[in-house]
């Protein structure tokens, strides 16, 4: 209730300037401290993902060389590895997929993720190229952007491949940031 509603109360005294300043300052400081504690506590947890790195570990055995057609046609393979999802560790589960193809006696591995905005790129055998079903980026077999009107800022991301023991295709699986000209690992 405002003081004028109270007939028995004494009229408010005009504040003493110095005392009033101190009171205001103290109120603001205490109030500020009260106000920021909870948000700051929350902010730490909220910002925690910034320090999380993708667990792109070492190379993974993806396929046998025998599984790749001699004519160099790309084949899609899941990449099985240990997936860490916050508190869960799941060994031997798909963490992504790659297109593998023979190039001479080497193997090329392309990440299936479109560098434009992350869709799963499709291999279309009729046209013998990769095509993104989202915004129609097209890529040549070597991963380079085919149609210059493609929205993708770069070609498909190729991954480091190693052939071990003659027939084992090992791939260093990684994801890269979408939408940038350069290949930046995430």
């Amino acid at each position: 209730m405002a003081s004028h509603d109270c007939p028995h109360c004494p009229p408010p005294t005009p504040p003493d300037d110095r005392r009033s300043f101190l009171a205001k300052a103290a109120a603001i400081i205490i109030g500020g401290a009260l106000a920021i504690t909870a948000p700051v506590a929350g902010l730490f947890v909220f910002l925690d993902p910034l320090r999380r790195k993708s667990d792109s570990g070492g190379a993974v055995l993806v396929a046998s060389l025998n599984a790749l057609p001699e004519n160099g046609e790309p084949r899609k393979f899941s990449v099985l590895a240990t997936r860490v999802d916050a508190w869960n560790r799941s060994p031997n589960v798909p963490i992504g997929a790659v297109y593998l193809q023979r190039v001479g006696d080497k193997v090329r591995a392309l990440n299936v993720v479109c560098p434009h905005a992350g869709c799963f790129v499709d291999y279309r055998s009729a046209k013998n190229h990769f095509f993104c079903p989202c915004h129609n980026s097209s890529f040549a077999l070597d991963g380079q952007v085919q149609d210059p009107k493609s929205p993708s800022p770069r070609g498909l991301d190729d991954l480091v491949v190693e052939i071990r023991n003659g027939t084992e295709v090992w791939v260093k699986f990684q994801n890269f940031r979408a939408g940038t000209h350069d290949k930046i690992p995430v």
């Binding site: 999380r52 599984a67 916050a86 499709d122």
Partner: protein
């Protein structure tokens, strides 16, 4: 009673509030064009209530989100209706927001002194769109997963803070538990909280300045109650009826197959009212994406926000109207283009079909006696022969073989058929065709393979062709006997029925009269040095597993093997994968016994609604 109300009024002043609410002046009397705000408030309240009810049963986590939504949709009482109500009311809200915006701009209700109210409305529009975007991911199905990936990838190109922003939204560098917990916190906590604050401000300001009357006023001023209230109620009822119509028509909201980052999903599309943005991105070639994704939408928003200022200028209102219509036309056109482009793409249509097939299949598996394992429903499809068999066949077998004339998935492979069509392999019909002189060297059987010039084809074309009636009758029995070796599920009833014929048939396979054992082995009968595949257990799971694993094994073709690779020893397929193809070829996969008990569970879903 009156005494109680008076007592309460003295302490709260509620009567004045009720009076102000109901007797708010409506200049020019009640009109239909004023109903939009109320319909939106109504929809929002539905969303809050249905949202809380869904929350009671929803669990945000990569192994629980889809699973809990499945449970709501298919197992809980009326869950499909609840989800449908939430889903379609969200869509209704977007449409109503556009109507409300149109009405405000056309009536000039954005002008002084209502600028701040107009801006709060624009903010509400954006917040509702944000609700929709975050809600799309929560069921953690393929569609929501892939469509949202596009949205969060776009967040990463925001200047300066892009990559950090993306990490904060996604909750790390990959999609997972924390993506869901974050999206859920935004969707169910943060955004609705902010919306409520803005709605309070919006309604407060609306009451402060009153309605913007549409001129000319056709009738004298009137109170809000009862005429306008009635109109508002009728409009809300109409909205509700439309929503219920969609729920019933489409059996609630769609639920796709569980999200799987390693499973191709070419049918990824955002919710229909974001399609224009999706389409817009197609027109910005590499490196210029930021224009379509951020700059142009931001500029359009800028013009919208500037409307109150532009409106002061003499032609300002005309400009604003023109801008609004142009923007809506542009959005409509882009949406239309996105739709027609998809409808004209055979690949897209195929992708939608396979998405629907997977979605329906995973429900069947989830409802099987084994249920959903703790590793999540995503493993159900990964281990399902009916789902994986055709994919593995298309990838590994269809460059030579066919399945019912196609590659297993319904497409035509690039290479011509050059080995048998395996639909119904080892069934009576299939073997009958193989032993038919007219068909054995057709492309359906050995016509495209090395065996075309082999002894088997010769035997069928020369010897069997000469069979008399009695021999032909014996051949029938032989076919039935041999086919019983496979123990096919589809033939189990016939095999039980024909036990006597089967016994006779088996004897015939072993007999010298039929000449099978000249080249083949069959149980104890047959040559020591067979030159053709062992027929013992022909087409059984064990036989087919071993055959696919290594057709060049002495038990099968040995050195006479044509081009078929040794999928096992050459490590082309894993043992589990060979098992999946085998089971699929043999028609061996989980099928529900009979219809589940009739209850509130909706029938399998239909074609996509949007």
């Amino acid at each position: 009673m009156k005494a109680f109300f008076d007592w309460a009024d003295q302490r709260t002043g509620y009567k004045k509030l009720v009076h102000e609410t109901l007797y708010e002046n409506v200049p020019g009397g009640a009109r239909w064009r004023y109903v939009w705000g109320s319909t939106l408030a109504f929809c929002f309240s539905i969303q809050v209530i249905t949202g809380l009810a869904l929350w009671v049963a929803y669990s945000a986590g990569s192994q629980t989100a889809w699973e809990s939504v499945y449970y709501i949709q298919h197992e809980m009482w009326g869950g499909w209706f609840l989800r449908g109500l939430h889903h379609y009311t969200a869509q209704a809200m977007t449409v109503l927001l556009v109507f409300h915006l149109m009405q405000v701009v056309i009536d000039g209700a954005y002008k002084a002194p209502r600028e701040i109210n107009f801006w709060s409305g624009v903010v509400l529009l954006l917040l509702v769109l944000a609700l929709s975007l975050t809600g799309y991911l929560l069921p953690w199905d393929q569609k929501g997963f892939w469509a949202t990936k596009v949205a969060t990838s776009i967040a990463a190109i925001t200047p300066f803070i892009g990559p950090e922003l993306q990490k904060l939204v996604v909750g790390g560098s990959d999609y997972g538990h924390h993506t869901l917990t974050r999206f859920f916190a935004l969707h169910a906590g943060v955004i609705p909280g902010v919306i409520i604050a803005f709605i309070v401000a919006h309604i407060y300001l609306f009451r402060r300045h009153g309605l913007t009357p549409k001129e000319p006023r056709r009738r004298p001023d009137a109170a809000f109650w009862p005429d306008q209230v009635l109109r508002d109620a009728v409009a809300c009822l109409a909205v509700l009826l439309v929503v219920v119509f969609f729920i019933i028509r489409y059996r609630g909201a769609e639920l796709g197959a569980p999200a799987d980052a390693s499973e191709q999903f070419s049918a990824a599309r955002p919710e229909w009212y974001f399609l224009f943005l999706f389409q817009l991105l197609k027109y910005f070639p590499g490196g210029t994406e930021i224009w379509g994704a951020i700059v142009i939408p931001a500029l359009l928003m800028g013009v919208l926000i500037a409307m109150p200022f532009v409106g002061k200028w003499k032609l300002g209102h005309r400009f604003n109207l023109g801008f609004l219509w142009a923007m809506l036309a542009g959005v409509g056109l882009l949406t239309y283009l996105a739709r027609t482009e998809d409808a004209a793409s055979p690949e897209f249509i195929l992708a939608v079909h396979s998405a629907e097939r997977d979605a329906a299949r995973v429900i069947v598996l989830a409802q099987s006696p084994d249920g959903i394992p703790t590793a999540g429903a995503v493993t159900l499809l990964r281990n399902d022969a009916l789902t994986q068999g055709p994919k593995l066949f298309a990838k590994n077998c269809a460059s030579c073989h066919r399945y019912d004339g196609h590659d297993g998935l319904g497409s035509q492979p690039k290479d011509k058929i050059s080995a048998s069509d395996l639909k119904g392999f080892a069934s009576r019909e299939w073997i009958a065709g193989l032993l038919d002189p007219a068909r054995v060297d057709s492309l359906h059987y050995f016509g495209g393979a090395k065996q075309k010039t082999g002894k088997m084809v010769k035997f069928v074309k020369e010897d069997i062709a000469e069979f008399d009636a009695a021999q032909k009758a014996q051949l029938q029995k032989l076919i039935i006997g041999l086919s019983a070796e496979a123990g096919l599920k589809a033939q189990s009833a016939a095999d039980t029925r024909d036990a006597v014929v089967i016994a006779e048939g088996r004897k015939l396979v072993s007999s010298t009269a039929m000449n099978c054992t000249d080249c083949h082995k069959f149980h104890a009968a047959g040559t020591e040095d067979p030159s053709a595949p062992d027929l013992t257990g022909y087409g059984s799971r064990e036989w087919l597993l071993a055959f696919i694993s290594d057709p060049s094994h002495a038990r099968f073709y040995g050195e006479r093997n044509d081009r078929m690779p040794a999928y096992g020893p050459d490590k082309i397929l894993t043992a589990a994968e060979i098992g999946l193809v085998t089971d699929w070829l043999r028609g061996e996969w989980y099928e529900p016994k009979a219809d589940p008990l009739p209850n509130l569970i909706p029938p399998p879903r239909r074609a996509s609604s949007n």
